[in-house]
């Protein structure tokens, strides 16, 4: 009952005109970003982070969530019409979605994606509302050692998610921690690594870093090879799926909802894994698996529902524990920190409007997504025809304006360009950005929790292992690292043996 009351309050917050507007802007921009190959949700959120400074924290989070699930939906449009996924979670939609488009059924493919995303997203909002409060109450027992270990777990999760070698991801996390040290030490008041630059006294801003690493570097990589794309020329008609389409899709939608939500909560899960797992599951349970890959609507309905459901699942660790489990939620954490909020156990208690407003807005956002996307598919097709050489200068200009507008400072532009160059080199040298960004965001909190723990417990580092919850987080971190490192070490051993 308490949950329903809170959800009703959240719905009231989400329905405020300003929040409705930012939710609309979020899902619209998210869909647009999802439609455009070359910019993922991570880049989009990075680009839009400065604009969230003009609104309240709750509006800011509502907009970022809208971008996140909007991008998940938008990605399906390019998968179906171009056979190019707008973002990674829509890769699997290409298989049957594009086949359906070639058979003249692009409309039902896009339609079932929208309905599936809506149904999955809506059910998951209720699951989120039910599961989040007990988890947040549990997290109230945390002291500095638990917070320190939890942040170690958060960093481990992003390192675990890294596509490349674990050592490189660890190096980037260490580099992020070093960047997080820059600025004035809160305990002693001493300047650290500021080199006399006034703008560094408050530390390196999150916005120039993420816009440089994800925005500028991405454009530099894309202008290297000018993207060409051929949009399906046939007219898209009949967006509403037929009765038979619904019969074929409803079970995949429901299975995708549950699977996506729980995979979204898990560290290392997220939308990409959810969509692939859903496709594999549908193919396995289907009476006609041979239809998959030849335009089976189940192959679109399941994965598209699952990737949207996973976005709701991913909000649980962020909102209740303050631990992001992927790059996008790491940036959302950054947005909350920019607004002076501390995501975690106390968020629900201290900021109920923000907590419940965000959850309820996800339902509102799903309605908007459905209303927005079905009539606007024609517009998205037109957007797809904008050539990248025209788009690239606009993205760069948006980065420049965005970062300048934060403090009206040219220094911020220089920082962004520096991190843009760093991001470009990191991609060339195969180092990943998300562990660096998360370490930079968590760095100051990480340092405070570590120093407070050591001061409180007389400099005894064993406190991290003797307190049960802290020990649990560290054990989970160690297991994650081992599970990630084991196959890699085996591979290196084999290579070393071959070299001998």
């Amino acid at each position: 009952m308490e949950t329903l009351n809170s959800l009703a309050t959240g719905l009231w917050v989400a329905m405020q005109p300003v929040n409705l507007l930012v939710c609309f802007v979020g899902v619209f921009i998210g869909t647009l970003i999802g439609v455009l190959p070359g910019i993922g949700p991570l880049g989009a959120i990075a680009l839009l982070l400065p604009s969230t400074l003009y609104v309240s924290p709750v509006s800011s989070l509502i907009m970022l969530c809208g971008i996140y699930y909007g991008a998940m939906y938008g990605g399906s449009t390019t998968s179906v019409l171009l056979n190019i996924p707008g973002e990674a979670a829509s890769v699997v939609t290409c298989i049957d979605g594009y086949e359906m488009a070639k058979q003249g059924r692009a409309g039902p493919a896009l339609g079932i994606s929208a309905f599936g995303s809506f149904i999955g997203g809506s059910i998951c909002v209720f699951l989120l509302a039910v599961l989040a409060p007990p988890l947040a109450r549990f997290a109230l027992r945390f002291g500095p050692p638990e917070y320190f270990s939890l942040m170690v777990l958060g960093l481990t999760i992003l390192i675990y998610l890294a596509n490349g070698p674990i050592l490189k991801a660890l190096m980037m996390a260490a580099l992020g921690l070093i960047l997080g040290i820059v600025g004035t030490d809160t305990i002693s008041g001493r300047q650290r690594f500021t080199f006399g630059i006034l703008e560094l006294n408050d530390g390196i801003g999150i916005i120039p870093v993420v816009m440089g690493l994800f925005g500028i570097s991405e454009v530099l990589l894309n202008v290297e090879k000018v993207l060409r794309r051929d949009v399906l020329q046939a007219r898209i008609q009949g967006l509403l799926p037929t009765l038979q389409d619904w019969k074929d899709s409803i079970r995949p939608i429901l299975r995708g909802t549950v699977l996506g939500f729980f995979l979204g909560i898990l560290p290392g899960g997220g939308a990409v894994l959810a969509s692939f797992a859903s496709y594999a599951m549908e193919k396995k349970v289907s009476k006609h698996p041979e239809r998959f890959g030849r335009g089976a609507i189940e192959g679109v309905a399941g994965p598209e529902t699952a990737n949207n459901a996973a976005t709701a699942g991913a909000m649980i660790p962020l909102l209740t524990l303050g631990v992001p489990n992927n790059g996008v939620t790491a940036l959302m954490l950054g947005a909350l920190v920019i607004h002076g909020l501390q995501p975690g156990a106390l968020l629900m208690k201290e900021q109920p409007a923000l907590f419940w407003g965000t959850i309820a807005s996800m339902y509102v956002g799903n309605v908007l997504l459905l209303v927005l996307n079905l009539p606007l598919i024609g517009l998205w097709v037109q957007v797809l025809r904008v050539p990248y050489p025209v788009l690239a200068p606009l993205i760069l200009l948006f980065c420049l304006i965005g970062v300048y507008s934060v403090n009206n400072s040219v220094a911020e532009i220089w920082f962004m360009l520096l991190f843009g160059a760093l991001g470009y080199l990191m991609k060339k040298f195969e180092y990943e950005s998300p562990p660096l960004v998360l370490a930079l965001i968590l760095g100051p909190m990480f340092e405070n929790a570590l120093r407070q723990s050591l001061i409180l417990f007389d400099g005894n580092p064993s406190v991290f292992f003797t307190r049960p919850l802290s020990a649990l987080f560290l054990v989970v971190s160690a297991l994650l690292m081992l599970s990630n490192a084991a196959p890699w070490i085996r591979g290196k051993k084999r290579l070393l043996a071959e070299a001998d």
Partner: protein, 162 residues
């Protein structure tokens, strides 16, 4: 990739050494009361150790004969596009305050639309002008961002005239 790994890890080892030494200078403190350089030392040592391990492994693994040497940039045209785009970004940062937002943005858009993949002059000019107008309306008028006015400021006009 081998060459890139060697170069990048050497750079990271140098950076980690600098951070560790600076951390000690800032004050490591003691376990009971960690100083302002405590985390710098811990992170610096960790980064250095990790980079050294990766460097060692890369040296130990001799390049396989079948491993292709990857080029940093695919061809000369790509390099030219990246160079010009970077130059445009740097020029924007340098010129924003002296020349002002509107003129810098116009020049930036026009330049990039002509160099990434040359668009027709008419099209490039139209897109650039429309972008400047939209940016001024949305950011300067609506969101109240205070961009430098530069040469187009009223003050500059007065100086020119009188």
């Amino acid at each position: 990739m081998r060459r890139y790994d060697l170069a990048s890890t050497l750079f990271l080892i140098a950076l980690a050494s600098f951070v560790t030494v600076s951390g000690f200078r800032l004050g490591f403190g003691e376990w009971r009361e960690p100083g302002p350089g405590f985390l710098a030392v811990v992170s610096g040592v960790s980064l250095g150790a990790l980079a050294a391990v990766w460097f060692g492994m890369t040296v130990a693994l001799a390049r396989r004969p079948d491993e292709a040497v990857r080029r940093f940039v695919t061809d000369g045209r790509s390099l030219r596009r990246i160079g010009l785009t970077t130059a445009a970004l740097i020029a924007f940062a340098v010129l924003l305050e002296p020349i002002g937002f509107a003129l810098t943005t116009l020049a930036f858009m026009l330049f990039l639309l002509r160099v990434i993949e040359p668009q027709r002059w008419g099209f490039a000019l139209t897109v650039s002008v429309v972008t400047v107008i939209l940016c001024v309306v949305v950011f300067q008028v609506w969101l109240q961002v205070q961009f430098p006015e530069g040469l187009l400021s009223i003050h500059s006009f007065r100086r020119w005239i009188f």
